[in-house]
């Protein structure tokens, strides 16, 4: 794949630019700290074109061996090509918010389990969608990933480097490579700054000489489909779609490898949504970006993602190649979500069978025991109430955490293996063939047992 080659070539070029990759020691050794020292404008290589790639391409390869993922089973690498290296690895990540009470002395009276033992990885050039209802922890998750919040426990690795506890200084070069685009373009652009100033800040931080900033800002704006002569305008002078484009341009100004998008189109009208989605698509091809795309709209996520993570109450329910999640949802929660979406096609809508799940997500302060979805699940049995299901890997890189998986055959269940991404507290029970009513997809909508 020529695209992949271009990507690794580029990666090789960037590495000498102060990035710590060369060191096989990923655990924040002194070597990488020194290399990470942001020395002002001394990094013109950031915007360097791959043409300067004097570095042997093979430099990217040794990383494979240096992979710190102990115990990663051979079948662990998700579908999408085993030769691609993970850009981002997340292991057993937890983010608990303490709830305090007391007038004089704060006592901790509880915890909000916002993200609770979540593991996944993101490959270079991949778009990973994260979906779930509000309150499922998807926004918290990406805030932890960019270190806007400090994880309670767990590990985040960016290109093999543990950034979970990295300090400000160590983080600076990483932050350039990980940019974020927020949901509300109105609130995420400073209303008192002109577009030129908004874009100049990241450009200057990247070390672009002062005299080139205006030119690069104009180029950035043109890249996101806007006229370059709006540098003197304020954010309020633009429509929502244009503001979101400015937000994307600001993220691009840092020349990132990874952009974390938090509901980037949900505040926009459908016709504008389509424009922004197309733009993100183009930019990904042009700059070889990886995306983490968080959204509650499953149809948007499906359109942009290579793989999709479904979250519920802070837990991973299912990870699947994008297309398969919709044609063959394994977790009952995913099924319920899909069935709740009205399809903009009246005839299809009338003919399909929909099972509306009742109730609302329980309180994350006191989440249900066992499987967190059991309180709303039509298939729940005793084991669901007592034992947290492990993430089970089925064929084709499709993982689900459910004792009673749907849409899978007995043979598929028999050949499934427990994934290393399973939560630490998960039970050892594998889904068994007899108890789940698994079979043809038709069995999906019928409750398994009384």
């Amino acid at each position: 794949m020529s695209e992949g080659e271009a990507r690794s070539e580029r990666a090789a070029v960037q590495r000498p630019g102060g990035l710590p990759q060369d060191g096989p020691e990923p655990q924040g050794g002194p070597g990488w700290q020194a290399g990470a020292e942001p020395t002002g404008g001394a990094e013109p290589t950031w915007s360097a074109e791959p043409s300067g790639g004097a570095e042997p391409k093979g430099a990217a390869e040794p990383r494979e061996g240096a992979e710190p993922r102990a115990g990663a089973a051979a079948g662990e690498v998700p579908a999408g090509g085993g030769d691609r290296t993970p850009l981002l690895e997340v292991e057993h990540l937890r983010m608990l918010f303490p709830i305090k009470a007391g007038l004089v002395v704060d006592r901790q009276v509880g915890q909000v389990h916002a993200v609770d033992d979540v593991s996944f990885d993101l490959l270079e050039g991949e778009t990973l969608g994260i979906v779930g209802e509000s309150g499922c922890g998807k926004t918290t998750l990406i805030r932890v990933l960019v270190r806007l919040l400090d994880a309670t426990s767990g590990t985040i690795r960016f290109r093999g480097l543990d950034i979970t506890r990295a300090g400000r200084r160590e983080l600076a070069p990483i932050r350039r490579e990980m940019q974020m685009v927020f949901q509300d373009p109105q609130a995420s652009l400073n209303p008192r700054k002109r577009v030129g100033q908004i874009l100049a800040t990241p450009l200057r931080m990247r070390g672009v000489p002062r005299e080139q900033v205006a030119r690069e800002s104009r180029e950035l704006l043109q890249r996101v489909g806007m006229s370059g002569d709006v540098l003197n305008r304020f954010p309020h002078e633009f429509s929502g779609g244009q503001r979101q484009r400015i937000g994307i341009a600001r993220a691009l100004a840092m020349d990132p490898r990874l952009i974390l998008l938090d509901e980037p189109v949900s505040a926009l009208d459908v016709s504008i949504q389509a424009q922004v989605i197309n733009l993100l698509d183009d930019l990904q091809d042009e700059f070889h970006l990886s995306y983490v795309f968080v959204a509650h709209d499953l149809s948007v996520v499906r359109h942009v993602s290579d793989r999709i993570v479904v979250m519920y109450l802070g837990k991973l329910m299912e990870i699947s190649p994008a297309e398969e999640l919709y044609s063959k949802p394994i977790h009952p929660y995913t099924q319920a979500l899909l069935s709740a979406i009205p399809i903009p096609d009246p005839r299809l809508n009338r003919s399909r069978e929909r099972s509306v799940i009742g109730g609302e997500p329980p309180n994350p302060i006191n989440p249900p025991t066992g499987c967190r979805f059991h309180t709303r699940c039509a298939h729940a049995t005793d084991i669901c109430r007592s034992v947290e299901p492990p993430l089970v890997q089925y064929a084709g890189g499709h993982l689900a955490a459910c004792h009673h998986p749907r849409n899978v055959t007995a043979a598929e269940i028999a050949s499934a293996v427990r994934s290393d991404l399973s939560p630490l507290a998960a039970g050892s029970e594998m889904p068994s063939v007899d108890s789940n009513g698994a079979g043809p997809p038709a069995a999906a909508s019928a409750p398994a047992q009384g």
Partner: protein, 336 residues
């Protein structure tokens, strides 16, 4: 309907005509700024103000609404027309208990009802819209409810006087899909049980396909097309509708490389383009489009299907197919 602003007259709604029968769900769809909410609020008399200018007529069971006095409107609101707003947090008073707010509403419209009777009815209403432990929850404040539950409270309030017409302005936009499905189910039940007419204002074509009987498509203050649900989805006549249908992401379609987005953005209503408002974004525009097309029936066997486009019907059917699907051809390759 127009607003006088410092920058000039904004024609927020221009030439909108439609009707709603009992037991019918009419969806008004359009993007933000298309005038769909203003239309709905004008029917309730909520857009009146020193800067508002009205023309035209809207009647409810024979009563003129546009020129009605506040007193007349007050009598119609509640048992006649009730409204559910988009944002349930800002439409509930945060300092009163939810139960008190429902009781107040009931007693404001029906003076003879005692407080105790009204409370009983509030419990019954809240149960009807699917709020568990309703008697207990009456004593809660709005902030103690989730978004979905607040929206249910709003619907319960709207139902409290058994309205004959319910106007719901984006009732599910702020909610998760699973809750949205529950609320839409609730609206359907209401319609079936009471025979009320429903005007549903939304931008979500999935919701429209799910619940509407008829559809009114608005763009830049004007109705561009209206007709039966299936006709709008399978035989749409206006290029804007094609663009709208083409640009939605669906969970069941091919993940094509690109979404056929509508180029450009909606015009400012302070200085709308001459003629058809969609002309600047329309790849099919021709000379005649500088004249405003009338909202008229163009298909003899479908007198209820109206649209505002100068293109002949055969031409529309030919040009709206983009890669086998209904959509708006992208503007770039258009040579002439």
């Amino acid at each position: 309907m127009s607003f006088a602003t410092e920058d000039g007259i904004v024609r927020a709604v221009d030439g909108v005509s439609f009707s709603v029968a009992r037991g019918e769900v009419v969806a008004i769809v359009g993007e933000s700024g298309s005038g769909k909410s203003v239309t709905a609020m004008t029917l309730m008399g909520l857009t009146r103000g020193p800067n508002a200018r009205f023309s035209g007529s809207a009647t409810f069971e024979g009563t003129e609404l546009i020129s009605a006095s506040e007193e007349q409107l007050r009598r119609i609101r509640g048992a006649g027309i009730a409204m559910v707003f988009q944002d349930p947090m800002s439409s509930l008073d945060p300092v009163y208990r939810v139960g008190d707010q429902i009781v107040e509403q009931i007693r404001a419209h029906e003076r003879k009802v005692s407080r105790a009777q009204a409370l009983d009815r509030a419990v019954e209403l809240m149960e009807r819209v699917g709020i568990p432990r309703a008697a207990e929850r009456l004593r809660s404040y709005p902030h103690e409810f989730s978004g979905g539950m607040r929206q249910r409270v709003m619907i319960a309030m709207a139902l409290s006087c058994s309205p004959r017409l319910l106007i719901a302005d984006e009732p599910t936009t702020a909610l998760d899909v699973t809750i949205q499905a529950q609320i839409l189910e609730e609206l359907r039940h209401l319609r079936d049980r009471t025979g009320a007419g429903v005007i549903l204002v939304t931008h979500d074509l999935g919701v429209v396909a799910d619940i509407a009987d008829r559809v009114v498509v608005m763009y830049a203050g004007r109705v561009v097309e209206q007709g039966l649900l299936d006709d709008i989805f399978y035989d749409p006549q206006h290029p804007y509708t094609w663009g709208l249908l083409g640009s939605i992401t669906r969970i069941d379609s091919d993940r094509s490389q690109r979404l056929p987005a509508i180029p450009g953005m909606p015009p400012s209503l302070l200085s709308p383009p001459r003629g058809c408002h969609f002309r600047p974004r329309c790849p099919h525009a021709f000379e005649r489009c500088v004249e405003v097309p009338p909202l008229a029936a163009h298909i003899p066997e479908r007198p209820e299907a109206l649209d505002r486009c100068w293109l002949p019907v055969e031409r529309k059917r030919a040009v709206r197919q983009v890669e086998g699907q209904i959509g708006l051809r992208s503007a770039e390759p258009v040579a002439s």
